[in-house]
Amino acid sequence: MLFRPNPSSGVPIYLQLMEQVKHGIETGALRPGEQLPGIRPLAEELVINPNTVAKAYRELEHEGVIELRHGAGAFVSGQVREKKLTDRLRAGQTIVAAAVERLHARGVTDEEIRRLFEAELAGLSRSGGERG
């Protein structure tokens, strides 16, 4: 994995991991069919609870982002699913770009924009699993 999650941020670590996997897929750092690190080695490397890694992987499988092959490990989902994901993200990117442009036009700064988005997401979410 390319980064360390921030355990003290108040955001569940498993959500941070899920986010990073999705981001990796979107940017192409993780390709369809590519194997993800095993639960144990990843937990050891990041020094976090193995149950947390397991939870992240389970949720990602539930969302169709990855596949857990019994005995073999975790793999990024194949072509079709990946396309759905990047399509969704690309559409999302367009919406966000437009919104940011309009907010800039009103004189809202980047930092304020970030806080608005975080507040909106934090305020609306019931639990992490229902998002996305």
Partner: protein
Amino acid sequence: MADTFIIETADLRKHYDGVEAVRGLSLQVPAGSIYGFLGRNGAGKTTTIKLLLGMARPTGGRARVFGLAADEDRASVDIRRRTGFVSDDKDLYDYMTVAEMIRFTAAFFPRWRADLEQRYLRAFALPLDRKIKALSRGMRTKLALLLALCRGAELLILDEPTAGLDPAMTEEVLQALVTHVAAEEMTVFFSSHQIAEVDQIADRVAIIDRGRAVLTGALDDLRESYRRIQLVFDGDAPEPAFRAPGVVRVRRKGRVLTVLSSAGAERILDEARALNPVSVDVVPVTLKEIFLETVTVED
């Protein structure tokens, strides 16, 4: 998975001539979890651990480990046979060498893991021939941890495992714990007042204050349900009476009203918006903030 509780206490009490160290503590540690036991100094963490291991007898309530009564002599020996313990002072036998200490401890545990012993001796770089009184605090902690990890135990009870250690060693200790839990069927119960390490490896927490558990639950649940809502008003912030449940604390300072909620942030937000604030911010709450709020609330 969580239907067996490795540790379970019900209204546990301990009175030490005139001081009530534990005043009705109830908690449940599910099998396979890493359970962080947070509290200020003197809140009753060490006493609770002593009660679980039969080093002291409760004056009230009940404590069970592996389903066995912790205050019964024979049951307590069984409990200790299946548990690895590291005390907060990490005291071992000063006059023994590292090698002697290991041989001494191994003799009590038929399930001693010689393979793990070799691995940790190498990983921790412990000098076999050095007397324990000549070891630094960090080395003593690592040795104590080795002695706990190699005995083939199903439960680890650690009292402030990283106290007094520098960040590098703290990370080494946490890594050894995480690696061990990943490979073996283990439950870890550790007390700490270092919130960062609880954040990092625990999946369940209990916050103890003045001998009582003031908050228990899965750490992720806490992270997902606690919110800090910040409202800024045009004039002075009003004195609101929130009807929605889950409000832990409301603070007014000039034009800012800050609400800490433990659940149901949306309903509180609805009520808050009705007060016509100029801006509304909803942010996650860190475990540190939750801790500071819950242990200072009662006065």
